[in-house]
């Protein structure tokens, strides 16, 4: 995959593994972890810090 800007690195809050995120992530954005699929909220940039996003149960459930 070619991109104009390099991906940024961050730590996966669940597994502690280093993960790659797109260069243009913003504070408050919800993004899924490439390791666990968990939805993460971007808490801060530089360095990028992530936190598990509150689950939107109703969004999915029956």
């Amino acid at each position: 995959m070619t991109t104009d800007t390099e991906p940024v690195l961050a730590e996966d809050p669940i597994t502690g593994e280093e993960i790659e995120l797109p260069a243009d992530v913003e504070v408050g954005e919800i993004i899924d972890s490439p390791v666990t699929g968990t939805e993460l909220e971007v808490i801060s940039l530089d360095p990028v810090t992530l936190e598990e996003a509150p689950e939107l149960e109703e969004d999915w459930g029956e």
Partner: protein, 361 residues
């Protein structure tokens, strides 16, 4: 408040007729209530509400009710009736219950709003309760569990469909002393159809995504655990899967009794528990295709089927329980409870016995 009218039935007899309305009439359980009430000998439907389809015919939402001469009305324009059935999402009824009692003598609510006896449970499992003062007054609808408290009740809380399936399956074991709060793990593995999600489903309930699934939709932490705990006194390990059917809830309960039980014990316990129940059947083993409870056998009906099997070493009892979530698991249970509350024949309006063969019911 509307007085009870005395109607003359087609045969010239005198029989009680109660007026009734349904709040949430475009919904799945609301439609099912309308279906049952419309052909119930003792009810006359006055209103069905909808905000989104106000003034439209009921048959536009529910094609099986095309013959019904009724249009949806605004939920804010409720007329006086004997019985008000409410089939709205969780949280609506607790905010409108005072209003409901202004127009009706009896309120039957299908949501979770009045199911749990303790306000604290709403803090723990839901987002708290707006009208906790009604909780004591409310009676849990399931007659197999709570028949003695229903006559005369004026606030009836319909059970959750998965909780209903589980309670019906496990209660005979609790009553027989095979199962109690001290017994080890009770695993309840539930499989449900898509109508459980209601009429307003999102992406996960679209046909391409929902067809053919075995999808863990409530892996842990399902709110119906609270009901089971409240009414059976058991803490269960509860997991719910979506499978490809429209109607139906099937609970498989894995129980490990402290003392060995025999098949004869189980037959005795279950037969004894449900012998006089008009809607319960024990189905366990035997020949043919339908050897254990399954949703197909009860689809469209207010029946519940329970059955069981023992592990070769008699170490585990597996209990199967199957209901139609739209009837026994909600609208049928509500009408059954109303029948008991009003002193009507229990099976009135609920006689339909189901079909064979039937696809995904």
């Amino acid at each position: 408040m509307s007085g009870t009218t005395t109607a003359v039935d087609t045969d010239g007899d005198r029989a009680e007729t109660y007026t009734a309305s349904v709040v949430g009439g475009t919904g799945f359980t609301g439609g099912e209530l309308l279906r049952i009430l419309a052909s119930h000998p003792n009810f006359e439907v006055v209103q069905a509400t909808s905000r989104s389809a106000d003034n439209m015919t009921v048959g536009r939402s529910h094609p099986n009710l095309r013959g019904l001469d009724l249009r949806f009305s605004d939920p804010d324009d409720l007329e006086s009736v004997d019985v008000l059935f409410s089939a709205t999402p969780h949280g609506v009824s607790m905010g409108r219950v005072d209003e409901y009692f202004e127009v009706a003598d009896t309120v039957v609510d299908l949501s979770a709003d009045f199911r749990l006896p303790e306000a604290e449970a709403y803090d723990e499992w839901y987002d708290g309760h707006e009208s906790p003062e009604y909780l004591e007054r409310a009676e849990y609808a399931l007659p197999e569990l709570n028949r003695e408290n229903l006559p005369g009740a004026d606030l009836i809380a319909g059970g959750g469909c998965n909780a209903t399936a589980t309670i019906l399956g496990l209660k005979p074991l609790v009553d027989a002393g095979v199962l109690g709060p001290e017994t080890g793990e009770v695993v309840v593995d539930v499989k449900v159809g898509s109508s459980e999600g209601g009429a307003s489903g999102g992406a996960a309930s679209s046909h391409p995504e929902r067809s053919g699934v075995v999808r863990p939709y409530a892996p842990t932490g399902h709110r119906h655990e609270a009901e089971i705990e409240a009414y059976l006194g058991l803490s269960v390990s509860f997991t719910v899967h979506a499978v490809d059917m429209v109607r139906g809830a099937s609970a498989t309960c894995h129980v490990f009794p402290d003392e060995p039980v025999s098949k004869a014990d189980l037959w005795k316990g279950y037969r004894g528990a449900y012998a006089d129940e008009p809607f319960m059947r024990v189905v366990s083993g035997g020949g043919g295709v339908y050897r254990y409870p399954e949703p197909k056998s009860v689809a469209g009906t207010n029946h519940g089927e329970v059955g069981f099997e023992l592990d070769p070493g008699n170490r585990r009892v597996v209990v199967f329980s199957a209901i139609d979530n739209m009837t026994k698991g909600s609208a049928g249970q509500a009408v059954h409870a109303a029948n008991v509350a009003l002193g009507l024949p229990e099976t009135a309006g609920l006689e339909f016995g189901g079909l064979h063969p039937v696809g995904s019911p």
